[in-house]
């Protein structure tokens, strides 16, 4: 059964803007992205928003819905309390281009900073071999859809201009670093860079990135903390340092 819901959508560009209210009919089974498309079709033809797959697999429709970074295509209307005005905003951490569209190119710059995968030599028969249990950990990280919700909610980037300073690469790229560092075939050593260039010490484990991840990747527990532990091995544990000196 259709109901009428109130939406408060931020409209504007890099210079500024304001919230605009919409009363809109919502049908059963709709997600927020459906409603935004209906607003676009019926009331605000020039509303800018980014979307692509509509299935939670491309990560394009990232925005903040009722203050939480979420994918609009995966936020069902019946999960938002009836009678409540629904606030829709662009991601806070990245510069607004227009309405709900932000410029996330900073993330691609971070990705370029990361040293590439450097595989071991092939086996004598010319094959690369990995065993399932050896790649289980890094497979989790491959689920990332690059929605950048984790980057948006990370308070180091969000609240203190960490993005401008490049002092912390952000959770998404800590996960990329972890996926390379834990890869059984990779030979590159990125641990000094994890601490010094990518800022593993900046993360204070508030786990917001894990909370908002639509792919349910355990970003903090399985990615960032294991990287911090590898940094501890290298720089803060004299016993481990001594063992390395003795045994190589």
């Amino acid at each position: 059964m259709a109901t009428t819901r109130t939406f408060k959508v931020w409209r504007g560009d890099a210079k500024g803007g304001e919230f605009q209210r919409f009363e809109i009919e919502v049908d059963e089974g709709m997600v927020v992205l459906d409603v935004l498309h209906r607003i676009q079709a019926r009331q605000a033809n020039d509303l800018a928003l980014r979307w692509n797959c509509k299935a939670g697999k491309c990560g394009s429709c990232s925005m903040e819905i009722n203050g939480k970074p979420r994918l609009a295509c995966m936020t069902r209307m019946n999960s938002l309390p009836e009678g409540e005005t629904i606030t829709v905003q662009p991601l806070k951490t990245f510069p607004v281009m227009k309405d709900l569209v932000t410029d996330v190119s900073w993330n691609y710059e971070q990705n370029r900073r990361i040293p590439k995968f450097q595989p071991k030599p092939r086996d004598s028969d010319g094959a690369y071999r990995m065993y399932q249990e050896d790649v289980d950990r890094v497979q989790e990280f491959r689920k990332c859809i690059e929605c950048y919700l984790c980057q948006d909610v990370c308070h180091v980037l969000r609240d203190r201009d960490g993005r401008e300073q490049n002092s912390f690469v952000g959770p998404r790229f800590m996960i990329r670093l972890a996926s390379l560092e834990m890869h059984p075939l990779d030979t590159a050593d990125r641990i000094p860079a994890v601490r010094d260039e990518f800022g593993s010490g900046m993360c204070n484990i508030t786990k917001c990135c894990t909370e908002v991840c639509p792919e349910h990747i355990h970003i903090t527990d399985n990615g960032i903390i294991p990287l911090k532990e590898r940094v501890v091995d290298r720089f803060y544990d004299p016993i481990a340092m001594l063992m390395r000196k003795i045994f190589g």
């Binding site: 504007g12 919230f19 905003q89 059984p184 903090t220 940094v231």
Partner: protein, 274 residues
């Protein structure tokens, strides 16, 4: 000056500022209350120096009991090194708990789960996800400057593992009284305490790293103990928060139970018929 709410993106600024409509503040508030209760109770109990044992039971706040408290003759059978040392400076509190509590205390304080809890509850950094932080305009250094000591969690973990064995020993001893095997409510409470602290300790991120997480090649195609141990530690690690809370509350309950027995306030139901 705070930016106008209709500034770019419509995001409001300042401590606690958010468009979230759920009860985001409940979790940090409950955390703060439980933590403060724990800290106040532990400090009080640790400074008492009395009522920390009863029969075969020993409070976990006083275990390992290196020296019995001054004048506590009955406590000598629990003490590893006998009576309270005469060289102990008079200006320091003469309580056995002050000798050992720094070890489990530092393990909990530097724990990755607890960091999340207290950064949110006490430092407001941030108080909730997508909620304005307490010190939004100050330079931010995370765990690189004053908080660099958090990297010592590895060492705290080594001691914490040792404490699991000590508390397990206390639990086993609690089934033994004057040469007779028996069970009391206190034995069960002490056993649960050892189990919960073990579950919390063996789910520690540092522990998981040390037993195999630090390597890239878990098995290299061979069935290894390392991989099996890592998988088990991962099971506990996925429940680290739950065990952190349960063990925190239960260690208080255990001390309180022994304390009330020792003070004669309650009676222990047991098979020794005492």
């Amino acid at each position: 000056m705070a930016p106008h709410p209709s500034a770019v993106g419509g995001h409001v600024e300042g401590f606690g500022a958010t468009e979230r409509k759920d009860g985001w503040w409940v979790e940090p508030a409950v955390t703060a209350v439980v933590f403060l209760t724990f800290v106040v109770y532990t400090t009080w109990a640790a400074l008492q120096g009395v009522h920390y044992h009863w029969g075969p039971y020993l409070s976990p706040f006083y275990s390992p009991l290196l020296f019995a408290a001054p004048g506590d003759e009955a406590g000598l059978h629990h003490a590893w090194f006998g009576a309270w040392p005469t060289w102990w400076p008079s200006f320091l509190p003469a309580s056995p708990a002050v000798l050992i509590l720094a070890f489990p205390g530092s393990f909990r304080f530097t724990c990755y789960y607890y960091r999340k809890a207290y950064y949110r509850s006490f430092a407001g950094s941030p108080p909730g996800c997508a909620v304005g932080p307490l010190a939004g305009n100050r330079p931010y250094r995370g765990e690189t400057f004053l908080l660099l000591f958090q990297n010592l969690h590895r060492y705290a973990m080594y001691f914490a593992v040792l404490f699991v064995f000590i508390l397990s020993y206390d639990a086993i001893v609690s089934y033994w009284w004057d040469g007779r095997i028996g069970v009391g409510v206190g034995s069960i409470i002490l056993t649960l305490n050892a189990v919960l602290i073990g579950a919390y300790t063996f789910g520690c991120h540092s522990f998981r790293h040390m037993i195999g997480g630090g390597t890239d090649c878990m098995s290299c195609g061979k069935a290894t103990l390392k991989y099996g141990a890592w998988k088990k530690a991962t099971w506990f690690n996925e429940r680290h928060m739950e065990f952190a809370w349960l063990s925190l509350v239960w260690v208080m309950v255990t001390d309180l139970y022994v304390r009330l027995l020792s003070a004669g306030v309650i009676t222990d139901l047991n098979t020794w018929s005492r």
